[in-house]
Amino acid sequence: MPTLVLRAAPLALLLAATAAVAVPHVPPSPDTPLARVPRADDPVQAELDHLGAALRERPRDAALAARYAQLAIQRARNLGDPRYAGQAEAALGPWQGAAAAPVRIRVLRATVLQHRHAFDAALRELDLALADEPGDAQALLTRATLHQLRGQLDEARRDCRALAARAPASAALLCRAAVDAVGGAADRALEIAARIAVAEPDPALKLWASTLLAQTLARLGRDADAAHAFDEAHQAMLEAGGTDFYLVAAHADFLLDRGRADGVPLLLAPYPATDALLLRLARAERELGRDPVRMRSLREQLAARFGASRARGDAPHAREEAWFALHVEADPRRALPLAAANWDEQREPEDARLLLEAALAAGNARAARPVLAWMAATGIQDSALERLRARLEAAR
């Protein structure tokens, strides 16, 4: 698969090479390999280069810019490399802050903004797009996803309903099923996801359906079914021809929850070391406790990445930093405010769980209240969240 060309070192290689010294040096030989770049025969990179060159001639060509941006965003997701998202943003730059912009450009801008956690700006962009073109399927789907990410399930359902008339049936059904899965109708979500996971010919939709299926089964505590569904979802990912970091991280979480930390390093070994995957690996190594040297190296790497992100002046990655503090550093006092700040930004089940766990570990049941209220309001069915709620109530 051409899109599987890995630009970042896979986790397995990375760990072998972490001793790289931060001292300027002259490599021992002209043949010393230094970095991976896209191969000359990589067709996606060739198309990006081609479009990029055309775009430098005609930077205001909206169709060209949209094609370039879409390809670059896809690559950013597949490789976990934010450079491509930056390149997409550059291609969309001529329309930044413009009063009038094509709907497609606005949707792509929203996607880039979401990528760098500028959720409010992304929503504004989508609202503008849908004001121009109320039935635009991509805009509706993107906004539904964003609403769901922020825990606004009613708004997400509304967008999915509007989508039903405009998009392939599977896409609209999955849009709704994804909301139902966290909104108190998990059985209906399971039924739809299972059906589409089996019958859907389109690999991307099939991957979406099988990931949703596996995660929902895991939340319901149906472990054997979930384990099977995760394997199926991996198969769907291979068929779709890319890396889906969301799925891989969810699978690692599933193993960690079931006390299967020993399976995590093997699961993650083939993939580039994104922050999220490195965090899971560090938690697994901590629980296994078999290699203190490697553990220290992982902690240092993660701390260095958070430090580098702060040095850049990026918006803090509260979800990842809270996870790190809680599950890797075992420092709930530091994790709690981060998890609470993250809850103000992102409200998915894993964010809810992070705040409950941090509150419990820090012995501060009051901090968990917003999540408990959210659980009651959404009716989410999630055995891990329920267990945490019970423990918080017992601790009171």
Binding site: P24, P82, R83, L149, P272, A308
Partner: protein
């Protein structure tokens, strides 16, 4: 809408934002010594490859040999993206050595650079324009040694920096930090409020009577200065690593001092030598704030100027509070409600807040 377009979009859109990877950063370290500016600039090979083809054989791997052979075009591309000037006059830039450096797990081309400005700059200008037109998420991380050491980040919105020489800069910057510390630290302001509420009054046989204006001003300034001097002493000792105290106890002690100051207004325990009390409390507050200020990162070589600046900032802001408060209090001093509502009521309110802190900090309750 074709099905294909939408499906491609779903692949993009349904998954939550992909987590961050090592982003595109370059590291620029520069030192000014007399008329000469020298330093090292580290640019990720993957970023450089976007500007200069570093992989002519197309095998997807950049080797040291490939990098060395591309040195000319690399220097031209980087030279076009960085401009230095001394008080507006350009300092011609040359790259003197090419090596390799790692940041995180990412290989960077490390270029030594040197620019001769002709004369020692009073203000150094740096204009940075690498990659921004291709990738607005690129950042240039600058560490500049010019008198003191300072750091800055170049972004598409901020591509230029002008820095005046020296310790004076550190002093001025920290002067502001110090003043902000007074405005933003609630316990600091409450403590000051307690000392100043009855400043225009004095006790005689258990009753408040009006003090003279000159006496009020003098007493207030003495009290505030004693506080700052003591504060400066412990703050400096902690920041310079000569003293280390457990922060929980220090924080609790700070709350206790505010409680005491409020109580002292209601049931006077200490009436004379208030400045001694104030100095004692200053020692405690200084130790407390030092732990918070670990993030202040004292510049190497400019630590003393920075500390001096910080303390002068604290003092200036406190005196500003005194200057704003005293005339008002002086004007209100003879009204009965000033004593009942402002002095007594204010002290009770401060007491309540400080007691809550004391309990929270002493028992180590989490703040939510």
């Amino acid at each position: 809408m074709t099905r294909g377009a939408l499906v491609a979009a779903t692949l993009l859109l349904w998954a939550p934002a992909a987590p961050a990877h090592k982003a595109s950063d370059s590291y620029l370290r520069v030192a000014v010594d007399g008329a000469v500016v020298s330093g090292q600039w580290d640019v990720a090979l993957r970023d450089l490859h976007a500007l200069v083809n570093l992989d002519p054989d197309g095998d997807g791997i950049v080797t040291w040999g490939e990098l060395e052979r591309a040195r000319g075009p690399v220097e031209a591309a980087l030279g076009a993206a960085l401009r230095l000037d001394s008080d507006g006059a350009p300092c011609p830039l040359a790259f003197t050595r090419l090596r390799v450096d790692h940041h995180g797990d990412v290989a960077h081309a490390a270029l030594d650079l040197r620019a001769d400005c002709g004369a020692e700059p009073r203000a150094l200008g740096i204009a940075y324009g690498l990659l921004f037109d291709r990738d607005p998420s690129h950042r240039g991380l600058l560490r500049l040694q010019f008198g003191g050491v300072r750091s800055a980040v170049f972004t598409p919105e901020r591509r230029e920096l002008r820095v005046a020489r020296g310790a004076g800069v550190a002093l001025l910057e920290h002067l502001r930090e110090g003043a902000l510390h007074v405005w933003s630290g609630l316990d600091h302001l409450l403590f000051l409020a307690c000392l100043l509420l009855p400043a225009v009054l004095r006790r005689e046989q258990g009753r408040w009577v009006t003090a003279s204006g000159a006496a009020a001003a003098r007493d207030s300034i003495v009290v505030v200065t004693a506080f700052t001097a003591a504060h400066a002493l412990t703050l400096s000792l902690v920041l310079l690593d000569h003293l280390s105290l457990p922060s929980r106890w220090v924080e609790s002690l700070v709350a206790a001092t505010v409680v005491f100051a409020a109580l002292n207004n209601l049931w006077p325990l200490v009436q004379r030598g208030l400045w001694l009390l104030s100095a004692g409390f200053g020692l405690v507050h200084g130790a407390a704030i030092a732990s918070v200020l670990a993030a202040l990162e004292l510049p190497e070589g400019g630590a003393l100027a920075a500390l001096l600046g910080f303390n002068l900032g604290v003092e200036a802001a406190q005196l500003a509070v005194v200057a704003a408060w005293l005339p008002l209090a002086w004007w209100l001093r003879d009204r009965a409600w000033y004593r009942a509502v402002v002095v007594t009521g204010g002290s009770v309110a401060v007491l309540a807040i400080a007691l809550a802190w004391l309990v929270q900090r002493a028992l180590d309750l989490p703040v939510s």
